[in-house]
Amino acid sequence: MSQTTRSRQGLSPALRGESSVPRAIGIGLLWIAVALGIVMLVWILVQSFRDTREIMATPFGLPTSWKLDNWVTAWTVGKFAEATVNSVVTAVVSSVLTVVVAAPAAYYLGRVDNRLTRGLALYFVLGLGVPVQVILIPLFVMLNEFYLTDSLIGLNLVYIGVSMPFTVFLLIAFFRSLPEEVEEAAAIDGAGPWRTMLLITMPLAKGGILTAFVLQLISHWNETLLALTLLQSTDNYTLPVALIGFVQQQTYSGADWGGLFAGICLVVLPMLAIYLWLGRRLSEGLTLGMGK
């Protein structure tokens, strides 16, 4: 990226005379913000290895020894162990199913263009503007009717339904950007529509589908309001709900900041790992089509 910028500056002297005082200040402030962000992240990680007394005494200190006490507390007292398992299973299962359900629909709506599909696409996009709190109570009542409250199966189903608008919207745009000629070639070679879709188009769409999957993984991992409403017993808690429970426990038993930092790490680190893995693809997926 900086390569092109440099060559651009090399090309045009007009672009070079931009170093003004406000700009320099801006650049300075920006790097301070970036540095603070990184320091904050490292700091959280470091604090999760120190006990609360140490943290309060010297908030910037390094651990005297790398104690795992906080992690053990969080894991056992905070019930973060079950919550982590629940969160991993829920996020993975619901994201896989979301993509499995949404991709064929997006394929059809992206490829076939008539009044019906345009209407259907609009129908799916409509959901993007509905705040979750609107469907919160009816969903609770409905799932209760089928004994699906306080159940991870119920939560998974809800996540799939709620994710439809964004995933279908994202994937329609993606399928439209794929060349159609390959499919025509496959058809000429005698492949039926199913084979064409499953063996030709879907493999081509791997990148977009992976992006959609990971974006759902992130949003289901972090989802709080629905999980808080639909889950009641601690055995079923997902991480965000467990974190809320742990914070509220602190009010009565005195703050255990060490344990809390371990809990925060459990919520943040998987996201960091995914981000380091996929990086720009995620930010591009989340800003897709908006800059165009």
Partner: protein, 327 residues
Amino acid sequence: MTAVLPAPTPRAGRGPTPRAGRGPAPRAGHGNIIAQQRRRLLVPLVGPAFLFYTVLFILPAVAAVWISLHKWAGSGPMTFVGLRNYVQVVQDPLFVRAFGNTLLLLIVVGLAIFVLAFAMSLVLRNMRGRGIARSVIFFPHLVNALVFGTLAGFLFNPGGLVNALLRPFGVTEPPAWLAQENIFPLIMLTLVLVNTGYYTTILMAGVDRIPPYLYEDCALAGANAWQRLRHLILPLTWDVFGTCAVLWTISSVKIFELIWIFGGSSGAGIPPTSTWTAAVYTYVTAFSGQSIPAYGAATASAIISLVLVSLLAVLLRRVMHREAIEF
């Protein structure tokens, strides 16, 4: 891949290609067998998504309108009360406060985010190491807001980091940051810090589209930085601003976690009423467990939020809509 493809007609890969399903006329053309066969797959391909979405999203949304017209405690009989829930909610000082807070987040925090994000995208435009800077400022968007609430609580608590940092500067009696009246401003500040990076990323995509020769034009015409901003950058990124504004409207009305995590501070598990947003009001009215759940009133308050989002989205589209500038 492209080498093997027959290219009888020059077709663009994206955009409205002359596809078979479009209009009745070109149906006879080649490559339409696949399109025709594909068209028959409507039910197996779209059906499951349609079903999930309709049953778990649209149906509840319609049911919400229905419930909001009734007095209902979640079980037992529903009595039809017409629009009385709405009247009751609008007259509830707690709701007025919560709705006002949501508007504050939407407008004040929104403006702050936009000004900062736009400034940052201008600074980042041709800065060294912008890739790294952009990656770092985007990351908070992937983290649960609960984390930021907890951190703010740690940094600002009486024995916390902020007070420790202020002490060397002679601040011996720091303000009570986490006093009830200060929590909401603190939440607003946190929201600005956390969201600016995401919107910067989007705006940058818009700023990056502006071809460099237009900047050269500006330089040759002797435009100063302000004129360039006013007459080049703003008009050409205006539509991206519009998208961002709609995006922020939708996401700001949903804000819940960041407020909820401050519930610990009041002891009851429910955040102080001065910090409530519309989403928190809905949740507490239905599920607090402290009074008889009022599902009707709760959904009515949620529907009001939905109406706000819809109105603003339409309004923003009107206001922000300009003739698309081709460049």
